[in-house]
């Protein structure tokens, strides 16, 4: 079931540039998935490898590939990998990681930062 859509994936026009890179990572996925069930430590190691060797944009494509193939466990795994990569990191780091640029008005971003610096204070009528 999973493999029949792989062929369709390669036949699709938007995937010509990076087909090879994805193929080497996506095809071994079902085996890795069996390993997910077996051994958490191995998956952690695989995750570390992935983060070191694969650029964020490749990870993005892996996510899209997993979604296209309807491969839920792989999708969850890749999304979790990205989440772990940005957890507890500064705003600047995350922007660089994703290749994002701030498109806020000059005062807007400052305002947002202030919002999050406030401690929780409810209008507490208790």
């Amino acid at each position: 079931m999973k493999f029949c859509t792989v062929k369709q994936y390669f036949d699709d026009e938007n995937n010509n540039n990076v087909t090879n890179g994805i193929a080497t990572t996506v095809i071994p996925l079902p085996n890795k998935h069996l390993k997910i069930k077996a051994n958490n430590k191995e998956m952690e190691q695989y995750e570390q490898e992935l983060l070191r060797n694969v650029m964020p944009q490749e990870l993005t494509k892996l996510i899209l590939a997993a979604n296209y193939l309807n491969f839920k466990e792989a999708l969850d795994f890749f999304c979790r990998t990205v989440a772990n990569a940005i957890q507890n990191k500064s705003v600047d780091y995350v922007r660089k990681f994703f290749g994002l640029e701030s498109d806020f008005e000059p005062g807007e971003e400052e305002k947002l930062c202030k919002e999050f610096a406030w401690s929780f204070e409810g209008v507490d009528e208790d």
Binding site: I63, V91, G99
Partner: protein, 453 residues
């Protein structure tokens, strides 16, 4: 030409994360703690509201301290009507809990996990929770006052979709609060309750009423009930024809009746002894309903009480468990006590046992006396050891209760595997010593392999 190509590459580099649709980005945020997910709204204008698409919200004190209430108001009451699947709150603000829960219900929440920690106050569970049509899982803990509406007086049914209910230390408004709640759930499958004395602080103590735990739920498959160490007397009555798993920790002092358990597969028992003369009779009656189970976990303390009581009382015996194929002893093992006789007594009641397991925590004892009970006559050799027992697994072995291992190896005629998983506290020298000692024990079964982990 070169310049053009380079431009495209750069664009591709920067746009790639943006090529993911909102739902994918929200799926990434799903794996972050809510606090971190909220912070991504600073990244760019596109990310501003992305975190509100995540179907799970965990609002604990650290998260709530880092953002303004107004922000929270925005998301909770936002026009974005995406379904909120799960809401977990652990916070000491009553009005906030109300607001969040109401908003979650409007967004079709399926799972609510509420922890409320107020100093000397309580809070009633919002009425809308009881009638929420989308709620499938409800977990409650803390200073909630459980006062379910009277089902007769309300037009709609309570908890129409609830399948899983977990209650860990809440306050009950009256003696029937819990029973009323349970009787109202038409689809309940998994019920886990822990009750303690402080839960009854608001009950009318003058009246001579017992607290009722009436579990008459025809759809219930899993029941975990911990009512141990209760001084307040309660009445427990269980009638659950679909029940497959029953975990009970408590006393049999109070009024305990269980009936109609034809589908029970596995039971976990931790029953304390009391010093009433009829404890063995009560236990026998209680266990009789369980006698068709295939798998059992028994607290080693309960096994000890059974041995102690059966030595002094010949009339009542633990029933035979003819279908039991797996038995595990768990719990604290006190120093100077060998549980072999208690284990053997239970083995005699399980003639077709195939798998025996132990997971015992060794506890040091200041007193050095032995608490072995002298047997009037030796126990029979359990039939299962001669014919059925093929696997024995001792988890967390620390070198104590060697007699268990020794006796099982000696008396099992068809044992194939004896697996010893060492306690992680042991050093390799100890492990080697134990390994050598065990390998010296005589084995009756020719095919027995001893495996060390």
């Amino acid at each position: 030409m070169k310049k053009q190509r380079r431009k495209t590459e750069e664009e591709e580099h920067s746009d790639i994360i943006s090529s993911l649709p909102d739902c994918m980005l929200a799926h990434i945020l799903y794996f972050l703690p809510t606090k971190q997910a909220i912070l991504t709204s600073i990244l760019s204008s596109r990310w501003r509201a992305l975190w509100t698409l995540v179907p799970v919200l965990h609002l604990d004190k650290p998260t709530l301290y880092s953002i303004r209430t107004s922000t929270l108001d925005d998301i909770l009451l936002s026009r974005n009507s995406s379904t909120l699947c799960k809401l977990r709150i652990d916070c000491p603000r009553r009005s906030f809990v109300d607001k969040c829960v109401q908003a979650a219900i409007l967004r079709g929440v399926q799972e609510l996990d509420l922890v409320l920690d107020l100093d000397n106050q309580t809070k009633e569970l919002p009425a809308s929770v009881f009638f929420c049509t989308t709620l499938v899982v409800l977990k409650l803990r803390g200073h909630f006052l459980l006062n379910p509406p009277d089902s007769a007086s309300s037009s709609s049914s309570m908890f129409p979709s609830l399948k899983i209910l977990q209650i860990l230390h809440v306050y009950y408004a009256n003696h029937n609060s819990l029973s009323t709640l349970l009787a109202a759930c038409p689809l309940l499958q998994d019920l886990r309750i822990k009750v303690s004395d402080s839960d009854f602080d608001f009950l009318d103590k003058e009246a001579d009423n017992k607290f009722n735990i009436i579990v008459f739920v025809p759809t219930l498959k899993i029941l975990v009930l911990d009512c141990s160490f209760l001084r307040w007397s309660f009445k427990l009555h269980i009638n659950t024809p679909a029940l497959e798993y029953f975990n009970f920790k408590g006393d049999l002092d109070s009024d305990v009746v269980s009936e109609n358990l034809p589908n029970l597969f596995k039971s976990v028992l931790d029953v304390r002894s009391c010093y009433y003369l009829d404890w063995m009779w009560k236990l026998t009656n209680f266990m009789r309903l369980l006698c068709n189970i295939r798998s059992m976990e028994l607290c080693v303390g309960t096994a000890e009480y059974i041995l102690e009581h059966s030595l002094s009382n010949n009339h009542y015996d633990v029933p035979m468990f003819h279908n039991l194929s797996s038995l595990k002893f768990y719990g604290d093992l006190w120093a100077m006590w060998s549980p072999w006789n208690a284990v053997k007594l239970l083995l005699c009641r399980a003639p077709k046992l195939q798998t025996l397991a132990f997971e015992l925590n060794y506890r040091c004892c200041i007193h050095s006396f032995s608490v072995d009970f002298p047997l009037k006559k030796p126990l029979d050799v359990p039939e299962c050891l001669s014919s059925h027992l093929t696997t024995c697994h001792y988890k967390g072995f620390s070198g104590h209760a060697m007699e268990l291992v020794e006796q099982i190896l000696k008396e099992s005629k068809v044992l194939k595997t004896m697996k010893i998983t060492f306690n992680s506290d042991l050093d390799s020298k100890e492990k080697l010593r134990i390994h050598e000692e065990i390998m010296k024990f005589s084995r009756t079964s020719q095919t027995c392999q001893i495996v060390f982990d």
